[in-house]
């Protein structure tokens, strides 16, 4: 789960792209090695099991999918499938494969490879994250080969937005070692030195051609340096050792902008959110008075009122964030609830609301109705400068209403252990990484039985009426075919979440990237992989010379 709780994928709407650098007059050069850093070792090279960001990036760069979401236009485009038809009842998706596509070992892609991929994906023993939606379909899912170039995916019931789900499923050869290829994407894994780097070499049989008929990709290779420290990453970028930086920290962005404004780009509001939640798990080893505070909607809403989101966006994110309205980022124009407004910063209203619930301010300390001073801790992931600073600002804001808050940065495994296993924490500050506009991808967060329903995960039956109502709306979202009905269902979820504040949303980060002038063809977008979504068309101004560095 890294710095995020959810990884999802799929369809997007908001068009937040920047213009292509003005080098159109120059013909693309072939060759060279593109260098960038990833913050952790990929957990797997098996595309079916990728859940962490580095593994997903490797899957994106090496995997071939039937249908690809164009990250710039936000539209689905044919990829390995050149065409498709969905039956009227929505239960059969027939895909016609692009002829002449070959794996990196030269073998031709056939329908049986597609079916082998889906059969493996549906294997319960594999527990593939990309198959979650398919496995919950009543009546299941079957893949049938019609001929060598045609497959039919047959579902027990209609699957809303089924095509966008295909963007995450890398097709593998029927007889292959999943983690060792052969590959269908523009690159293949050629070298991996654990803890140091991964080299992706050009796939010699990649099927895409440029407008001149030349084979893509232009680059010879991509070197992914495993570089945990982002300060060092930026130093290496400044020294010319790295060409691209994605998801740039706002402080580092500002520093780089001061020195080289042409190299950095604020792409706009991203889909990701930053939020605080209180532990409401009944099994939590917390004193009863704390459980009572955290279960109180008035308490949570008062906290929400007392946090100055504008200041967090301005001070911590240097203006490269926007106060959050709720669970959906303003970038997600299709799904955001137009009637929601950002919670106002109003500590007086927060205190008045707390007073109505029996809390009172004695001197500088807020006391509950049983005489306990309001003190709690917020855990967050250590080493994340922006979260530690957000914690310090929240601490300062809540001090103004008499609450004593400790901020405890923990290493990520300890943090996950507390929020997912022992429930030994008061509150948590984390982010939610979203790569999918369709909220169905967040089912595990919103369903009360979901493991990522963080404030009280894995409930056998909904603990509160409002959680029961969220469950009903989410189920409607999953089965309803009408876009308008689905939108109404998720609007209701957003209203409930804002009313009940189980997650106190703080800000939506902006997507910040840095691009070396050496790299051409980059069109940064808010969606991951921000600068690499059109990797097959990126090229280096110095061509093959760069690989000699």
């Amino acid at each position: 789960m890294k710095a995020a709780l959810v990884h999802a994928s799929g369809l997007l709407l908001a068009a937040l792209t920047l213009p292509v650098p003005t080098v159109q007059a120059q013909a693309p050069k072939r060759g060279g090695e593109l260098r960038l850093a990833i913050q952790a070792e990929p957990r797997t090279f098996d595309p079916a099991q990728a859940t962490d960001e580095p593994s997903e990036l490797v899957r994106y760069l090496t995997g071939g999918v039937l249908v690809r979401l164009n990250r710039a236009t936000q539209k689905l485009e044919p990829e390995l499938a050149e065409s498709w038809t969905l039956s009227k009842d929505g239960k059969v998706l027939t895909l016609r494969l692009r002829p002449g596509v070959r794996f990196s070992n030269g073998a031709t892609l056939q329908a049986r490879d597609v079916c082998a991929t889906f059969t493996r994906l549906m294997d319960p023993a594999l527990d593939a994250p990309g198959a979650e939606v398919f496995r919950t379909i009543q009546g299941g899912m079957r893949c049938e080969t019609r001929d060598t170039q045609t497959v039919a995916l047959r579902f027990g019931e209609p699957v809303p937005g089924v095509l966008r789900l295909l963007d995450d499923i890398a097709i593998q050869a029927a007889a292959s070692d999943p983690a060792h290829g052969p590959w269908l994407g523009p690159f293949l894994v050629s070298q991996h030195r654990a803890g140091s780097f991964i080299t992706l070499a050009r796939n010699p049989h990649y099927w895409k051609r440029d407008s001149q008929g030349g084979q893509l990709p232009y680059l010879d290779s991509i070197r992914l340096e495993i570089q945990r420290n982002r300060d060092f990453e930026l130093m290496r970028f400044r020294n010319g050792e790295l060409h691209l930086v994605n998801n740039l920290d706002p402080v580092l962005f500002e520093r780089l902008q001061t020195a080289s404004p042409s190299l950095v780009r604020d792409v706009g509001i991203a889909l990701d959110t930053e939020q605080v939640w209180f532990n409401q798990a009944p099994a939590a080893p917390l004193p009863p008075h704390k459980k009572a505070w955290f279960a109180s909607t008035a308490f949570r809403r008062a906290i929400s009122l007392a946090i100055n989101r504008q200041d967090i966006a301005r001070v911590v994110f240097k203006g490269h964030a926007t106060p959050a309205l709720g669970p959906v980022s303003p970038a997600n124009r299709a799904w955001i609830h137009a009637g929601l407004a950002a919670p106002a910063y109003d500590p007086k209203a927060a205190l008045a609301s707390l007073a109505r619930s029996g809390f009172q301010l004695r001197g500088n300390t807020l006391i509950d109705n049983t005489g306990n001073p309001v003190e709690f801790s917020i855990i967050t992931n250590a080493g994340n400068r922006t979260r530690e600073q957000m914690g310090a600002m929240i601490q300062d804001d809540l001090k103004k209403i008499g609450m004593r808050v400790s901020v405890a940065p923990l290493d990520f495994p300890s943090l996950i252990g507390r929020i997912a296993k022992t429930y030994d924490y008061d509150a948590c500050l984390l982010g939610l990484v979203m790569t999918d506009l369709d909220p169905i991808a967040q089912s595990q967060v919103w369903l009360s039985s979901g493991p990522q329903h963080q404030w009280n995960p894995g409930q056998s039956t909904p603990q509160t009426p409002w959680e029961a109502e969220i469950d009903r709306s989410m189920r409607l979202l999953a089965v309803e075919a009408s876009p308008a009905a689905r939108k109404r269902a998720f609007d209701r979820v957003q209203e409930i979440v804002v009313e009940q504040a189980p997650f106190i949303y703080l800000v939506n980060r902006h997507a910040l990237v840095a691009v070396s002038q050496e790299v051409r063809g980059v069109q940064p977008v808010v969606l991951r992989p921000q600068t690499l979504w059109n990797v097959e068309r990126l090229w280096l101004a110095s061509g093959a010379q760069v690989s000699q560095r």
Partner: protein
Amino acid sequence: MIARRICASLLLMLFIISAAAPWIAPHPPEQQYRESTNAPPSPSFPLGTDDLGRDRLSRLLHAGRISMLLAPVAALVSVGVAALIGGLCAATSGLLDRVFMGAADLTLSVPWLMLLLTVRALLPLDVTPWISLLVTFALLAVVGWAAPARVIRASVAATLRSNYAMAARARGAGYWRVLLKHVLPGTRPILTAQFGSTVPVFILAEANLTVLGLGVVEPAASWGTLLKEVGMLATTSQPLLAQYWLLAPIGLVVVSVLCWNVVFPARLTT
């Protein structure tokens, strides 16, 4: 001699300024002036402000209290424990000596960063910054006794075998009299030197631990927390001297560690 005097004066000045921080700091160290973040030096903020708009000078002064006052206290505890154990081992030898020196060897071979990490992980989450601070220095004191104990043991054993100690025993002096009148004065330079060399080690250890996220927690200020911010200078394009005020914590750490090292070994030779 002049260098020692200058360093002693500097240390004294740092002590006084650190102790007086609550009265002389222009602002509360945790106060966030959110309209003046990352401000350069000005009459209101003589060393500018940090990312959250906190006055750097006030934080530096309060940070000095932690490093200049708690590090010597922890060193005193550490050397005190070492003196007790080292003296006992030298005086008794035999089983007790072997047990304690074995424990010293064990302590020296423990990866203390891992030990600190484990102990910090066991602390309650809502621990106050001051408790985290005390725990950090207490741990330093606990793991810091072993090396001085071995030195002190050797010194005490040598003194007990010396001619004047033997002569005193021969003239009928009791065991405790020999210990207090002859051994203790004889080992005082060793104790002073051990104390003097442990303090800068603890000052640097706190700074290193905090930079690693294991020491003092926000919003408390220590030289370690301030040094974390200096690390950001590596990514800035401006010349270091253009932001000279950010170098103040480094300057203070270097000056204080240097002064401790100059003052105490010099006394050992007198």
